[in-house]
Amino acid sequence: MLVIFANLWIWRAFVSNFPVFVALVMASVVLIKAFDNKKYIKFVLITFGALLLWQAIGTQRQDLQKLDNDQIRVQDTRLNEYPPINFPLAYWLEARPETVAFSRVRDNFFEQLDLNLYFFAAHPRERVGVDEFEKFPYILLPFFGVGIFVAWQKYKFLLVALLTSIIAASLIGINNHLGNFSIFPPLVGLVYLGLKKTYDWVPIKFRKLSIIIFAISFVLAFMQIYLYETA
């Protein structure tokens, strides 16, 4: 519950699109349930599939081949930079529709892999013209890392969900004010797994103390990102 609700992303969804908020909470809860009970997997498929569909409908589709005026200018300049050869290599590398589409998909794909985007509001490389916000408190990042290792060993379906969401967003674009929200449940799942695994690692006699330290750090980090956001 802490991972699902103690982040700015879910509350943005709550404020701007309540049905998405409900869907995200449901998909995340079902996903976490599925770690202990495999019969929930089918519900994961249903909720996550619905979320992907919602993402696809709610996102302003990006034309993978259409160029704006500035992009046309850059393309024209680049076509003239190549040495003259009797082979349309410059066209192949710069202007073929497939080349343009491939580079768009690649842009979108790597945009999804930006760890700083999810945990540091894209800092220190904030994007121009984008309202950046810290989707998850940065204190959860180490647990996300641990979660990936746990998921790789035991819950590969979580990584499949993560990858599906990334690939879908790479193809349809991310022109949505909530960003690629279909990635929210897999991210929550990974952080949850990381927290659980870390808790298991801590010797029993230190567990209380570690919970107190984590709680204080979490509250401070959450206050920090909230105050940065509202400053």
């Binding site: 300049t77 580079s103 945009e111 930006d114 760890l115 700083n116 220190p124 401070l220 980090a221 920090q224």
Partner: protein, 544 residues
């Protein structure tokens, strides 16, 4: 024996490819010379000719160029190369290209030690990927001190990896690590994190004794003696304090008004540091965006080819030295204010190469070596095409202005004319050193002028200003009240002198230097004091 020869042949082929990519058109691309390159070259030339640097100081521990106090090893090692090839783009970049090429076999040996001969294909493929990586090729083709530092650091790591066989390699490693601090300023911080932890690890595992550590500390201190001698001067700390982002942290902690300063400041620092730290392992930066600085990046290309991402990701291992390298090489870069500096983090190429090789090993164990080897060779060939496109075509044209294209032509103009020149410095990077480089300005004359700029002492005075008067040119802001009343040529970029100003002051355009994209880099206007004086109705003090 046959297998060994085959490996050697493949390694030589990889080194050959790497050398070609580092030396091909070295003097032409990057198109121009960056100010730091010019400073390195001119200081080496100055020491060669006079035994003193540009400020007339004998063999400095740090070079004060532009008040930056950069590490001196690159300059000193460039002296014989300048003697051999003359002062040119080629001679100043040669050492970096050579260091880059020599690093290839060192990386091969490091990978071999890490993978323990389990998979020779992974080692060779890892070396191939290093040899053709855009990141390393880029820094090998410019006079970057960091690239020389990387070679020394790789040798140090190789020595540390051999400590298990013979503990004398530990001392060699420490010696090399100490030497690396003279090669690049970021490497001054690496031993502080790396050495204590790694020494402790070696002692704990009984590879070395406490006595060896004591000897190592002695070696380290002796090598660092020249730096220790100037430790108290502002020069020693100026670079670090200029780069550290404490001002940003301070302003961020101001936003946490609810919290006491003692909590707010560490909290703001933690977020800043971890954001920077994570950016150095962020796949988007490594495999897609590359450096945030246009001067240090290749258009459309990350530090590595995008297809290497899965190998890198699956190559992370719970290996003590690998993790220690990752942490200790990221920390110095993460403490600097630039967002994701591929230059400051160049050392990371060593652990990343190891990770990629481990990734190859992982995939070979899953799908077999034929598929992985074939796939990697195929993708590498395709990557060569994209590297040619990004570096030799796009970078050569689009980043020419950033790399100071046009100074060679400007130097020719200055050389070919008798008139006095004023080079406007409002938007142009310190032009004096570039012109001194291209004009091969006699170092003694240069030193005479530069010496006047040091008031408090070589290592004490941190001030730097762009006013220089050498030969028949001055570098400063144009003074419109006076310059138009003197016979001279005013030089600026396309914004320095507008057509209205040219008309108002009777200036005649005498030359225009254009970049490869046909954009104006420099415009030269000859003044016309006679006409100007006729036009002023009142008696101007500058008119006779």
């Amino acid at each position: 024996m046959k297998l060994r020869n085959t490996k050697l042949v493949w390694l030589l082929i990889i080194i050959g490819i790497g050398a070609f990519l580092r030396f091909y058109k070295l003097s032409e691309i990057p198109s121009g010379v960056y100010v730091d390159e010019a400073a390195i070259g001119y200081n080496a030339y100055s020491i060669l000719e006079t035994g003193r640097d540009e400020f007339g100081f004998s063999f400095p521990v740090f070079l004060r160029s532009f008040g930056a106090f950069s590490s001196p090893l690159y300059v000193y090692l460039s002296i014989p190369l300048i003697k051999l090839f003359g002062l040119s783009e080629f001679s100043i970049r040669f050492l970096s290209a050579l260091s880059g090429t020599l690093t290839i076999p060192i990386i091969y040996l490091i990978l071999q030690r890490f993978l323990k001969k389990r998979s020779e294909q992974s080692v060779l493929l890892g070396t191939l990927v290093f040899a053709i990586s855009p990141w390393h090729i880029f820094f090998s083709r410019g006079a970057f001190e960091a690239n020389l530092g990387l070679l020394i650091l790789s040798l140090a790591i190789l020595a540390f990896l051999s400590t298990r066989r013979n503990k004398k390699y530990y001392l060699i490693g420490v010696f090399l690590l100490a030497i690396s601090t003279y090669a690049y300023h970021s490497l001054r911080l690496v031993p502080a994190v790396f050495l204590p932890v790694y020494s402790l690890f070696l002692v704990k595992n009984k590879y070395i004794s406490i006595k060896d550590v004591a000897v190592a500390v002695g070696i380290f201190v002796i090598v660092l003696m020249p730096q220790i001698a100037i430790m108290t001067t502002p020069a020693f700390s100026s670079r670090a304090s200029g780069l550290l982002y404490l001002d940003i942290v301070s302003s961020q902690s101001g936003k946490l008004g609810l919290l006491p300063e003692v909590v707010a400041f560490p909290l703001a620092f933690a977020r800043e540091f971890f954001a920077q730290f994570i950016s150095y392992v962020n796949p988007k930066n490594i495999f897609f965006l590359g450096d945030s600085d246009l001067q240090r990046s290749i258009p459309t290309m990350g530090l590595y080819y995008s297809w290497l991402l899965p190998f890198w990701f699956f190559g992370l291992r719970k290996n003590f030295l690998l993790v220690l390298m990752l942490v200790s090489f990221i920390v110095p870069a993460a403490l600097a204010r630039d967002p994701f500096s591929s230059l400051r983090a160049l050392s990371l190429i060593i652990p990343f190469s190891i990770m990629i090789a481990f990734g190859f090993e992982y995939f070979i164990s899953k799908v077999g070596h034929k598929i992985v080897t074939g796939g990697v060779i195929l993708f590498s060939l395709a990557s060569m095409l994209f590297l040619w496109r990004a570096y030799f075509v796009l970078f050569a044209h689009e980043r020419a202005a950033i790399w100071n294209y046009g100074y060679s032509e400007l130097a020719e103009e200055i050389k070919s004319r008798d008139e006095h020149f004023v080079i406007d410095t409002s938007r142009i990077k310190p032009p004096h050193i570039l012109l001194a480089f291209y004009l091969r300005n006699p170092p003694k004359d240069y030193q005479e002028f530069a010496k006047t700029k040091i008031k408090a002492g070589y290592y004490e005075d941190l001030d730097f200003d762009t006013y220089y008067k050498l030969r028949n040119f001055e570098t400063r802001l144009i003074n419109w009240e006076e310059d138009v009343y003197r016979e001279q040529i005013l030089v600026g970029d396309s914004l320095s002198i507008s057509s209205e100003q040219a008309a108002e002051h009777f200036l005649d355009k005498v030359f225009e230097i254009k970049g490869p994209l046909n954009e104006i880099i420099f415009v030269g206007f000859k003044t016309n004091p006679e006409e100007k004086c006729k036009s002023v109705k009142f008696l101007n003090k500058n008119c006779k």
